[in-house]
Symmetry: C2
Subunit: 396 residues, 2 copies
């Protein structure tokens, strides 16, 4: 069978290897980007589901609008207003997880050969998603304060990309958060060059002590012309449940109309039932309490992991402690006289009963072979300590 040419742009082996790492039983996993399922408000979701299915279930079980379930679009107006973003119900569409928002942007915007700029490193599934649409994906260096805006400006001028993709809050895999100053500069660049910036914000609510700076979307009214070149992707996956598969896309009118048309032929619409559950859940006023627990738990786990890494691996590993999200981005230094070869380290770690994700696949090109991603979200504190101890054994 001869497949579409677009498949030739995607290297799947690296991803498949990652997934194999996750399957071994009994392993302590720092690998997945999975929330801790014990923190899900299953009771609240069950209440919402019952309410939705017991009270006039017809519209929930029937076909719905491609743009989204009306009650959820309305509820998201309020949710975004609480985050300082002024958006109307018809200024957003709901999506089957924010992965679909990324996909619809790609389908709507990217022709084969178009350039796309991403952070180096960035979310793996975005690189692959946009390569499937034929994008030439270019990585821009980052540091602890997010993407380096001077380098970004150079790359934007040189490559005239179709879009720039950023995870400004607690990035995956970097854990980095874009500074306020840089956020404003990104908006200026978008407005000046009329280049679309895609703000992917799955982790913004998962801060430890204080919220991250205002989102690009919230800041956009301050920078003339930037709102016309900005798309925002939101998600319930990290704050309520990824299994529901509900996200949303906020974008300029013409982009949103074309993305809606593409969605019509991608999956017609997102499940009305899961959308209605999310809408009803927001009305239950349980989200704040749920997020309080999630934030405290993840903050504590991040502190435990940081301390364990320092105690057990010492100078062999370098990392910036994140202020939120789910990930440590680390680098083997080789300072302990060991190899900084992460591929071998990962193999030895599996043998010791702990899994993590090597960092190389998160780079569109020129990977840092000494880098790795450790998630502190899924395992509890005791398991984190034990897992880091196993990492130390794997490195010895």
């Amino acid at each position: 069978m001869e497949f579409a040419n677009r498949l030739k742009n995607v290297e799947t082996s690296a991803i498949r290897e990652l997934f194999k790492l996750l399957g071994k039983p009994g392993i302590i996993s720092f690998a997945g980007g999975f929330p801790d399922p014990t923190l899900f408000d299953a009771e609240g979701i069950a209440l919402a589901s019952q309410a939705v299915l017991n009270n006039n279930p017809g519209p929930v079980l029937q076909y719905g609008a491609t743009e989204g379930y009306p009650l959820l679009r309305e509820a998201l107006v309020g949710f975004m207003a609480n985050k300082g973003c002024v958006v109307q119900a018809d200024g957003l569409i709901t999506t089957t997880g924010s992965q679909q928002a990324l996909d619809l942007i790609g389908k709507t915007m990217i022709s084969p050969g178009d350039n796309v700029i991403v952070e180096a490193p960035t979310f793996l599934a975005t690189i692959q998603c946009y390569r499937l649409y034929g994008a030439n994906v270019i990585g821009c260096p980052i540091d602890a304060h997010g993407i380096q805006v001077d380098r970004l400006e150079q790359l934007m001028r040189e490559h005239r990309p179709k879009l720039v993709y950023l995870v400004p809050n607690f990035g995956n895999p970097s854990g980095a958060t874009l500074s306020l100053e840089r956020r404003l500069r990104v908006l200026e660049l978008a407005a000046q060059m009329e280049i679309l910036v895609v703000e992917d914000d799955p982790y913004g609510e998962l801060y430890f002590d204080q919220p991250p700076p205002a989102s690009l979307l919230a800041l956009s009214p301050q920078v003339q012309g930037s709102a016309d070149n900005l798309a925002y992707c939101g998600s319930f996956s990290k704050i309520l449940s990824p299994g529901l598969r509900v996200g949303w896309l906020i974008a300029p009118k013409d982009l949103l109309a074309n993305a809606t048309m593409c969605k019509q032929f991608s999956d017609a619409h997102t499940s009305n039932l899961t959308q209605a559950i999310c809408a009803h859940y927001l009305g239950l006023n349980r989200m704040t309490a749920t997020l309080d627990v999630v934030r405290k738990t993840y903050a504590q786990r991040a502190a435990v992991m940081a301390q364990a890494l320092v105690d057990d691996l010492g100078q062999a590993i370098a990392f910036d402690a994140p202020q939120g999200g789910m990930f440590f981005w680390a680098r083997l230094t080789g300072h302990d006289g060991n190899s900084a070869d992460v591929a071998t380290f990962a193999k030895n770690a599996i043998e010791q009963g702990v899994a993590f994700v090597p960092g190389a696949p998160f780079f569109a090109h020129d990977p840092d072979p000494s880098s790795l991603r450790l998630s502190f979200a899924t395992a509890n504190e005791a398991r984190i300590r034990e897992g880091v101890a196993r990492l130390a054994k794997a490195l010895a």
Copy 2:
């Protein structure tokens, strides 16, 4: 903003016009392809939802496998076995409605410029979906027994399409059902020419008196080599609820693997909750009773619509009465001395308070301007009689 070139392949105005027809309040709609929501087994779905969310909800609310929720894949093995199809759990993936199965086939198979053969007329969203991937869509004539296989063979030899898309059971919009003899011939052609046939089967369970002939998938073991060139798309939308958005794709191993990879970057996976509800529902053994009611209701409505059309519109309209599904495919004859201009008829019908869909958009090219589609599924018998009376007024 400059959008992707693929958007230039899709003419959206026809679709948007259709949707406008549906919005007018108080109208009797023969337009939508919507099941009657009063026939949904809302009680059974609510029971399934409660069971799933009250008993170990963690895996349902967590991220899941792109291939599908394991319990649903297993349940679908049994569901398909009851339809005479031997498939293993790893021989299918679940999809966000069968629309996504169609989309994943397009993403996996179609390069810009590839030919695709469809029935003339066929499902509108398939034409548009495949054009978005750059397909040149070619229509093949049909009659009351489905696609004309001699013409199909000619077109396959002439155009070497990447795939042939068929709705063999109670087609949308045609209502036609492919004969057993022609099914076997289609499988022979697929095997001989090694060209993929996509069998889309949303309506197969909606028969009035007796089941349609065995599906291409069920017949494929009889025709050597055909199974390697056959994909099957199934859906819960017409038998349980479209709002859940759960379908499935059965395909040869390499196609399925690539479609799974594409799905990973399209929406990661389909909602675990709605998949788990479908799996649990199948275990409740309520489907047979639900389908019995649906079949009897739709059969009666089809009979009422047929009689009303004969009584009220007489020789002005021609149609073949379908043996299942949701649609009458009809043609204005002009025999009553009126114009056979369906566009004007549709406009007058809206003024009289009844909506239907003109047939032209269902053709990839060379539309029949006298054709129209009437759905008998959504409105009850009294409304069908009243709606047809309004049609007669609109024609007068």
